[in-house]
């Protein structure tokens, strides 16, 4: 099992460690709910070094990124980040990812840990523009500092004023270590992600600096479980749950990142067809007023008939209500529709709602 450079710290903090995408990762430190609330109300830190960083460089780097991703990367200036996805020719999703434009001929693609190899191979297979594709996932550490007080924490040890707009990044130094800091995250809160190389000592230096600066805000380490409940409250898709090779971006509610009018990209024709013909099923958000805990795999029923399956679920720590995402037949997708979630052979009423689940 692989370890991140924060592994010792997690063990020292008494985190519950689990295997995730081949890495030993902290799933929780104290309580999932208190970690969740720390991020919503103040600031929390996630070690997400397991995520993948793949660098694309060369004269035709933009052409390549345009070919393999669904969003329009030509809109990016250096210093900008874009949420996007890679699709197969049939429109199924290879992965969702962040595209960082470092320079006209240099991009960093941040991909899901479980998909690093698959994504890298997919890129190499489709390298029509002879760009250089470098998987640097193993040399990069990544911390996500998230929450309304995250800016105060990061600002504390930067000389320049931190004036990053949402989905922008800067290359700077922190604790004498070069890093990329982007105003991104997976929580719906104000937040920053810090990418840097170096050894365990460097990683510990950065971690300690952040926690020193965060002490006055009662900063907390947060695990993968809180990361999951935070993203779900926002309705953000998780690859492997809510999106995968069997779902296309239109069904997944990712039409907003799929720019069908841009130049050719892989999956374009299939996705165009889906859009023209209309979807048969789609990702829907559900809330229930009952005391249930919805989980991935539970069936969704209407009038005694199966109409879909949950792909993610939890009890929202903010709403204190069950919330879930799932694919359901398109005719039941509209907001306000009453459906039933089946839990241990019991049908429990729920209602289709708009995302995000919580107001932001």
């Amino acid at each position: 099992m692989k370890q991140t450079r924060f592994n010792k710290i997690h063990h020292t903090l008494g985190a519950k460690m689990v295997e995730f995408a081949g890495y030993e990762m902290p799933v929780q430190y104290s309580s999932i709910i208190s970690e969740h609330k720390a991020v919503r109300n103040s600031v929390g830190v996630f070690d997400v070094s397991h995520m993948g960083e793949i660098f694309i460089s060369g004269e035709k780097a933009l052409n390549f990124v345009q070919l393999i991703t669904v969003n329009d990367a030509s809109k990016l200036n250096p210093g900008k980040v874009q949420y996007s996805a890679m699709c197969y020719a049939d429109g199924g999703i290879v992965d969702d990812l962040l595209v960082y434009k470092i320079a006209d001929d240099n991009f960093m693609l941040v991909v899901n840990a479980a998909n690093i190899e698959k994504d890298f191979n997919w890129m190499v297979e489709n390298n029509e523009y002879s760009v250089e594709i470098k998987n640097r996932s193993d040399v990069y550490s990544l911390l996500a500092v998230q929450g309304p007080n995250s800016k105060n924490v990061i600002q504390n040890f930067l000389d320049d004023e931190l004036n990053l707009e949402f989905y922008n990044f800067t290359q700077t130094r922190l604790a004498n270590i070069d890093m990329i800091i982007s105003r991104t995250g997976y929580t719906g809160e104000l937040g920053y992600e810090l990418y840097f190389t170096g050894d365990e000592t460097d990683a510990e230096k950065v971690w300690n600096k952040i926690f020193e600066a965060g002490r006055e805000y009662d900063i907390k380490p947060a695990g993968l479980a809180a990361r999951d409940s935070l993203r779900l409250e926002m309705g953000f898709c998780l690859y492997g749950n809510d999106i995968d090779q069997t779902t296309n971006p239109i069904e997944a509610g990712l039409g907003w990142i799929t720019k069908l009018k841009k130049d050719k990209f892989i999956g374009q024709d299939a996705i165009k067809k889906v859009k023209e013909e209309g979807i048969k099923k789609g990702l829907a958000a559900m809330v229930s007023g009952e005391r249930i805990f919805p989980r991935k795999g539970y069936d969704i029923f209407s009038d005694g008939k199966k109409i879909g399956t949950l792909t993610s679920g939890t009890v929202s720590p903010v709403l204190e209500k069950p919330i879930a995402l799932g694919y359901i037949d398109a005719e039941y997708k509209s907001v306000g529709t009453k459906v039933n979630i089946v839990i241990r052979n019991k049908e429990v009423p729920a209602e289709i709602v708009k995302l995000p689940f919580i107001e932001k």
């Binding site: 929780q28 309580s31 999932i32 709910i33 479980a225 005391r291 805990f293 009890v315 241990r344």
Partner: protein
């Protein structure tokens, strides 16, 4: 890990406080720690009996759902209704305010089959 000496234990990580044929039961400190944040305790409010080896309810934690298994058979005389609104009592005070049921046991020899604290500690390793 807290394993009080004055209690009996089941292999399913329940604790049992015995007073003649009246027993109180809940889940152990180890069990609550493994489950993590408990969100709901689902025991039928009109549960009248528990049966040895049969599920009598479920615990929903953020990470997972777990069945509650009858460690013996008996008549339920009281349910801890505080758990409906405050299931986290199981996390904060598993042997106290987090208790679940009071049961009148039919065959007290079933108590003898339970583990004592030393045997339960051994089970936890």
């Amino acid at each position: 890990m807290n394993v009080p000496d004055n209690l009996k234990y089941s292999k399913d990580h329940e604790w049992i406080a015995v007073d003649g044929n009246i027993v109180k039961l809940g889940i152990t400190d180890y069990a609550q720690g493994e489950l993590g944040d408990i969100v709901y305790v689902d025991i039928d409010s009109d549960l009248s009996d528990i049966i040895k080896g049969e599920p009598f309810g479920t615990i929903e934690a953020v990470k997972t759902v777990s069945d509650l298994i009858g460690p013996f058979s008996g008549k339920v005389t009281e349910l801890n209704t505080a758990l409906i609104d405050s299931p986290e009592l199981i996390n904060t005070d598993p042997y106290g305010e987090g208790w679940m049921l009071i049961v009148e046991i039919a065959d007290t020899s079933e108590i003898d089959a339970l583990l004592d604290s030393a045997a339960y500690k051994e089970l936890l390793g």
